[in-house]
């Protein structure tokens, strides 16, 4: 290789270096626009960085709503005579929740966080305690027309230590789905099938009735062994609606402390033991199964008899697994609340509102908090939220959405709307992660038969007390 060639290669490499190694562009700290000033001399563009996540792909409007809201906000800023205009750099993540949250925490620690972060409401407590996000009460008070429209119960999910730290972006319910096709094969009439959701709502059909029925279907050869009842295949909040169904409680509303109800916890573990080992309606080693296998199986509508999932799964199955054929689901799949564990008690469900949060100056190194909040405010509108809800199978967060034509016309959203009245939330507590891990480890051990139910209960209590001390109440 001659010297000239070497020189050219070196120049090319250095050029690539200069392009690629440059830090990602971050806008310089921008003062919050104060009171509107007449005839601003020059327009200043402020970049608002937002991170959003599905992980389900149909939820991409979580990002796109913010992008579209920028136009609305810029028009208002112009009208107000503000010199600022916003430009949105928003991303939509389809990776895992764990990776997403870890990246946000590291970025916030490094002072490099996005201005807006969308995450589960349970992150409000740890992130506000860490100083990563700001309280929004003062901002919310400035826009009563928008925020009085939020469904009141949802404010509970973003409230921590008396302050509101996020704006609900969507919510959902987690139904118990069932195969109408397989129930018919089992001899159920259409009337029987149609009556099932109501029986569950009234507490006439319990979790153990479900296991009995699933076992019967397996014994008669209608359902393959191990396909009677499928819970989610990975760690997640869904497991706790079974705990609630047995009378469980996760947080004391008065003291704010985490709670373990021993009796409910034992029944919760026993139920999961029974479905795997006593009734054999859930496969052994089921936890850890690929989501893809899970979705393909349940969305077929004629393989598993009962399974619990989320309302958003309806949209996922339609768009990702059934080539848009929603009718296939209506023909084969039914849905109801999660049956109660106690006869006579109404069914239950769990909601997990996702919320937009505004990162603090400490977390971002920027003073864009008010503009970021105003962007969220513009995205919190009936039309934008409805297109997200309809496209992704999520429920309304605004009262005005209920009558919004596109929302009202969606049969599925209409049919599951009542479930919100029976819902529970996961706790807003900075140590919820530890609590969750201890509970889930016990459940995993019981399902794998690594531990008896009694030992698991004992272990949970001991670990909770050792790791959380007086932050947890054992009832």
């Amino acid at each position: 290789m001659n010297k000239r060639m070497l020189f050219i290669i070196t120049i090319v490499i250095l050029g690539m270096l200069a392009i690629s190694c440059a830090p990602a562009a971050t806008p310089t700290p921008t003062p919050v626009p104060a009171t509107p000033t007449p005839a601003p001399p020059k327009v200043k563009e402020v970049t608002i960085v937002a991170w959003t996540i599905g992980p389900d792909e149909p939820s991409y409007y979580r990002r796109d709503n913010l992008i579209d809201a920028a136009d609305r906000l810029n028009k208002k800023l112009e009208k107000e005579g503000s010199p600022y205009r916003v430009k949105v750099e928003a991303t939509f993540d389809t990776g895992t929740w764990g990776d997403y949250k870890q990246k946000y925490m590291m970025a916030a620690q490094a002072g490099n966080a996005p201005d807006i972060i969308l995450s589960g409401h349970e992150d409000v407590a740890p992130w506000s305690e860490a100083g990563f996000i700001v309280a929004l009460d003062d901002y919310i008070a400035k826009y009563p027309d928008v925020y009085n429209d939020i469904i009141p119960a949802l404010w509970d999910s973003v409230t921590f230590k008396g302050k509101k730290w996020g704006i609900p972006q969507d919510t959902e319910a987690r139904p118990m789905y069932f195969s109408k096709t397989l129930l018919k094969k089992l001899g159920w009439s259409d009337d029987d099938i149609n009556a099932l959701p109501d029986k569950i709502k009234k507490g006439e059909f319990t979790l153990y009735d479900m296991l009995e029925l699933a076992k019967e279907a397996q014994d008669k050869g209608v359902v393959e062994k191990g396909y009677g009842y499928w819970h989610r295949p990975k760690k997640g909040g869904d497991f706790y609606h079974i705990y609630f169904a047995f009378g469980g409680q996760m947080q004391d509303p008065d003291t704010g402390k985490l709670v373990v109800v021993k009796d409910a916890q034992k029944k919760w573990l026993q139920f999961h033991y029974d479905t795997v080992w006593t009734y054999e309606t859930t496969p052994k080693d089921f936890i850890g199964t690929d989501w893809k296998i899970w979705h393909e199986t349940v969305s077929a509508g004629d393989k598993a008899l009962f399974w619990n999932g989320g309302t958003w799964h309806w949209a996922e199955w339609t768009q990702k697994y059934l080539d848009g054929n929603e009718q296939h689901l209506w023909d084969n799949v039914g849905f109801a609340l999660i049956p109660s564990g106690i006869k006579g008690k109404p069914g239950t469900t769990l909601s997990h509102p996702l919320v937009y949060m505004v990162s603090s100056e400490k977390a971002t190194g920027k003073k864009n908090q008010e503009l970021a909040f105003r962007l969220i405010t513009e995205a919190t509108s009936p039309d934008l939220n409805t297109r997200h809800a309809v496209n992704s199978g999520h429920l309304a967060i605004l009262k005005s959405q209920i009558d919004y034509p596109d929302y009202a016309a969606n049969k599925f959203l209409h049919d599951v709307a009542y479930m919100v009245e029976y819902t529970h939330f996961q706790p807003n507590h900075p140590d919820y992660g530890t609590y969750d891990q201890i509970m889930f480890s016990a459940l995993q051990a019981v399902e794998a038969k690594d531990m008896t139910v009694d030992d698991a209960v004992k272990t949970v209590i001991e670990e909770m007390q050792a790791e959380l001390g007086d932050k947890v109440e054992i009832k």
Binding site: E57, A107, W291
Partner: protein, 274 residues
């Protein structure tokens, strides 16, 4: 005659059996990237749509070309830094006598014993302090630093093999130390530099952990991070796309390796005299 043939065939048969899983894996990777779907190892139908990432951006992902440029820049700069610094330190450790030389040598090797995963938290704080978190430059510096101890040892081994007489002759003729190093010694260890360069490039190209942990912005992704993101939570894995991107990821390295493996083997013949 027959016995001789059988004797010749046995090693081939053994090698075929041992390498079969690897060959089948790569074969499946290739076929799956052009198949409409696969069932087990069997592909069905032919399509180019799995390669669509080459001409259209994937939804919610940065452009593949941006990611490839990042990966290339990452691997090249790591290579340049590693080889440049290792060549200088290797020479110093081989030829110069200074206080603490032995201790430095031992320490260098101990540093190499730390897998990068054990240093993640400390590295995070350092990058944050230097405002290099979420920058390609920051991750390049980390990767090069972690690779340097071994690189230094390897280069020292090559310098040890260069005759003192050549160096002495250059110094007596009036060359400075730097000129001796640059014009006399370095040309003598070209195979070593080539071998270390290839080794460093392959290591940089395949690096996953550091970019995955320390690069949060979409625009800073490397190909290994992209593959992880395509897998996601195994919820919606498009295996056709995944295999096509996987193949795209290994093609440059495969060619690079085929044409340079001769030099790569020099690493193991260079020697590491103490």
């Amino acid at each position: 005659m027959l016995i001789r043939r059988i004797k010749t065939a046995i090693p081939y048969a053994l090698l075929t059996v041992i390498t079969a899983p690897i060959i089948v894996s790569y074969g499946w990777l290739f076929m799956s990237s052009f198949a409409k779907r696969t069932e087990g190892l069997k592909p069905y139908g032919f399509t180019l749509s799995n390669w669509r990432f080459l001409w259209e951006p994937l939804p919610n992902m940065p452009s593949i070309w941006r990611i490839t440029a990042n990966t290339l820049a990452f691997a090249l700069v790591v290579t340049i830094l590693e080889v440049g610094i290792a060549a200088a330190t290797g020479y110093a450790l081989s030829r110069l006598h200074f206080p603490g030389r032995r201790g430095f040598l031992s320490l260098t090797l101990i540093l190499h014993a730390f897998p990068s995963v054990t240093l993640l938290i400390a590295i995070f704080y350092i990058l944050r302090l230097l405002h290099l978190y979420d920058t390609l430059l920051g991750v390049i510096l980390v990767k090069a630093s972690l690779e340097l101890p071994l690189g230094t040892w390897i280069m020292k081994g090559f310098f040890d093999n260069v005759s003192w007489d050549i160096e002495m002759a250059a110094l007596i003729d009036g060359c400075s130390r730097f000129r001796t190093w640059w014009q006399v010694i370095i040309p003598n260890i070209r195979p070593g530099i080539a071998a270390l360069s290839i080794f460093a490039f392959l290591s940089g190209w395949s690096e996953f952990l550091l970019p995955y942990i320390f690069l949060t912005s979409f625009n800073n992704w490397t190909l290994s991070v992209l593959i992880k993101r395509l897998i996601g939570d195994f919820r919606f894995v498009d295996y056709g796309l995944l295999t096509a991107v996987g193949l795209f990821y290994i093609i440059p390295v495969l060619f690079f390796f085929i044409f340079t493996q001769e030099y790569l083997l020099n690493i193991y013949t260079g020697g590491v005299k103490g």
